[in-house]
């Protein structure tokens, strides 16, 4: 069996919520040993963000947490206590990577700033991923994904055309930053193989997100252009839009049963094919300019057709003719999507506190090394003995003393809703 690329890499992971854990999920999926470090008194809020009334140990059975912390190991350490901090620095000495996404000032307040970490392990690749980086006035800002969308210009480019900027329905900035932070870690490891030294990477989530809008900066700097909202239309393709389809036959979540089709005509050939499918060969000769001018009319025409048909059938019919079309897959339909099912994207893993359900598999499909979901997300403090005993050599008595002092533990102290 071919080894996963990151086998042998040890990650001391202080990250919480979504952006940082998303990064370390990518690393863990590809073989890194990730020690997810939480304090008994300051745990990853994602464990308890969604209330689960009546559930025992809700912090060990959250689907949100389970999605992005698979393949990791859980270590608890109260970094605010001198002994907890000292044990953490011992872990750093055994780690290749330290990663955190605290607010910019938190690591220093714990007396665990970059210089302290570098002193403990000069070979460590240290990645901080504060929302706005650690320098400048904006470092004092607190940022979650939607804040990043606003502050990076992504929201300013999204909307229905009435001036109101729109955020995505997820904390989009988080997985974007997490994906790039994982790359930063690996780039740091590659650089270390040459230099022999670690590095400090001050990743700003805003800067990463703004990088996804490069052409808008070209337009702004060359021509002074401001973003224009086009809803679902394109400045290149016409018609393009999101059209309502007939209600789904798959009755998952009846109250919200609505189906949509996204469709684009890239050129005259696409349009001719679509016009034929719509039974409007008389319009097949419209060129791009004419299609832009008559976009409203074409939207009506397309919408009248799609409303009478099933979204999946429409997509398959249009695609068979070569017209780019796709269902707007909702959170239910995506779980039953034939393409994702055929590729084995959804995996059902055993979990000691949760029933089996569909979880997404590793997105980076290394064809030969073939990464898999190896293990459910860790229970709180599940690997204290394995990591603190096995890696640091702490004795059972020492672990017991740490437990007694509430420096480590197997349950959060005073858990509530995050």
């Amino acid at each position: 069996m071919k080894r996963l690329p990151l086998e042998g890499v040890r990650v001391a992971d202080l990250s919480m919520m979504w952006a940082g854990p998303f990064a370390t999920m990518r690393l863990a999926d590809l073989g890194a040993e990730v020690w997810k470090i939480e304090s008994p008194s300051a745990w990853d809020n994602i464990r308890t963000l969604v209330p689960q009334p009546g559930v025992e140990e809700p912090w060990n059975s959250a689907y949100y947490f389970n999605a992005y912390n698979r393949n990791k190991k859980s270590v608890t350490l109260d970094l605010g206590k001198p002994r907890g901090r000292a044990v953490f620095l011992d872990l750093v000495r055994h780690a290749d990577v330290v990663i955190e996404n605290y607010r910019a000032d938190v690591l220093d307040k714990l007396d665990l700033g970059w210089e302290v970490l570098r002193a403990a392990n000069p070979r460590a690749v240290i990645v901080s991923m504060a929302a706005f980086g650690k320098s400048g006035d904006d470092a004092a800002l607190v940022g979650f994904g939607p804040v990043i969308e606003l502050m990076s210009s992504l929201a300013a480019r999204t909307g229905y055309g009435d001036g109101e900027p729109f955020k995505t329905g997820i904390s989009f900035g988080d997985p974007v930053a997490g994906t790039v932070a994982a790359g930063a870690v690996v780039l740091g490891l590659i650089a270390r193989r040459r230099s022999g030294e670690g590095c400090v990477i001050d990743l700003s989530q805003r800067e990463v997100a703004a990088s996804l809008a490069g052409e808008a900066f070209v337009a702004a700097s060359l021509r002074g252009e401001d973003p224009v909202h086009r809803a679902n239309r394109s400045d290149r393709f016409a018609p393009q839009g999101c059209y309502r389809a007939a209600p789904s036959r798959v009755e998952r979540g009846d109250a919200h049963d609505e189906q949509w089709l996204m469709l684009s005509c890239r050129d005259d050939a696409d349009w001719r094919r679509l016009a034929s499918l719509l039974g409007r060969d008389d319009l097949a000769g419209l060129d791009t300019k004419a299609r832009f001018e008559r976009h409203d009319e074409l939207d009506e025409l397309i919408g009248a057709y799609t409303r009478a048909h099933d979204a999946q059938a429409l997509m398959e019919r249009f695609q068979a003719a070569g017209v780019p079309a796709g269902r707007v897959l909702d959170t239910g339909a995506v779980l039953d999507d034939p393409q994702l099912l055929a590729r084995g994207f959804w995996v059902q893993l055993p979990h000691p506190r949760m029933r089996r359900y569909k979880q997404f598999g590793p997105v980076y499909r290394f064809v030969e090394a073939d990464p898999q979901l190896r293990r459910h997300s860790p229970l709180f403090g599940e690997h204290n003995a394995e990591v603190l005993g096995g890696v640091l050599g702490l004795s059972a008595a020492e672990l017991a003393a740490l437990t007694e002092a509430a420096i480590i533990g197997d349950a959060p102290i005073n858990p509530g809703v995050g």
Binding site: L150, F166, T168, N232, M262, T331, R365, E368
Partner: protein, 351 residues
Amino acid sequence: MLEVGGGIPAAFAARWMAGYGAEVVRVETDGPLGPLSADEAVYLLAGKRRTAVDGWADVADLAGFADIVIEDQAPGTLDVAALRAARPELCVVSVTPFGQSGPYAGYAVTNGVAFAMGGIMSLTGDIERTPLLTGGSAAFYLGGINAFTAALMAYYGRLVHGEGDWVDLSLQECAAGMVELYVPGTAYGQPVQLRTGNHVRAVWGIYPCIDGWAGAFCLERQIRGLFAAMDRPDLAADARMNDPVQRATPELDEELTAHVYAFFAGHTKAELLDLARRHKVPIGVATTPAELLDSPVLAARGYFESVETGEGSTARVPGRPFPGLGWRPSGAVSAIGELAAVRSAWSGAGS
């Protein structure tokens, strides 16, 4: 590094590779995810050597000298298995809309269609209107950042273990694996979640302010900070408003929404950011690219760089995505060169 791109995903990944020091050759080909617009080309092609080719045999020949190939051609266009068999150290990342296999592998997409199929669009927009595309080319750029990271992982694996690999990257899977708690929730038995618009609840939403738009996105631990930023000790003292269960009821949420609306409506973006800093509250303001280009913070952090467009003008664009490992500014968009010159340079380097 060889970029066999037609569209944004390969070009974006390769741009960052070039910035961090890779010698990137871009093969000028058409592809199903292209072509690039003129502005995209300025952003994504700077800092690379570009070459014309005469068929896929030329591409395969160049790949024989590369450490990494990133491509976004249709499945089966490049014979990746043959490339890997000839050179086990080679790392290849293939970015396609749906991956190399499955019933949709040959489907045609635009960025909009690809985004629709990933799940995020269904959650974006107003429930009374259509689902909404995220501006720009979000699906394609997501492919780019994932190709960047996957290529680095493959290359690291080669350095450590001696062999490269082939990464089959699907735009759909990149998105479907990042739908926050919503897809996992539905998978675990929660109802289908649809779009919640800009306003999920009073303390998690976008509001108009004096000179634009801004938003607050507070977790429970930040509620008191928000009330302090609003200068509303009465809300801080109101037991109902401090109880997350009561505050979530429609009546109380509506009441609080009115207060938050009034707060935002009475402040400018600059004032809101000042309050956000002082009270450590997650408040952001809608910012345009032009405003970011003028940001002294981003200037001090060395975020932007200049690109000579090749047409006598200079654009300013995002440069290094993260500091700490050096960065080679991309400089200029070069003209398309001759294959023979690239081949000569690479074969010389190889020997």
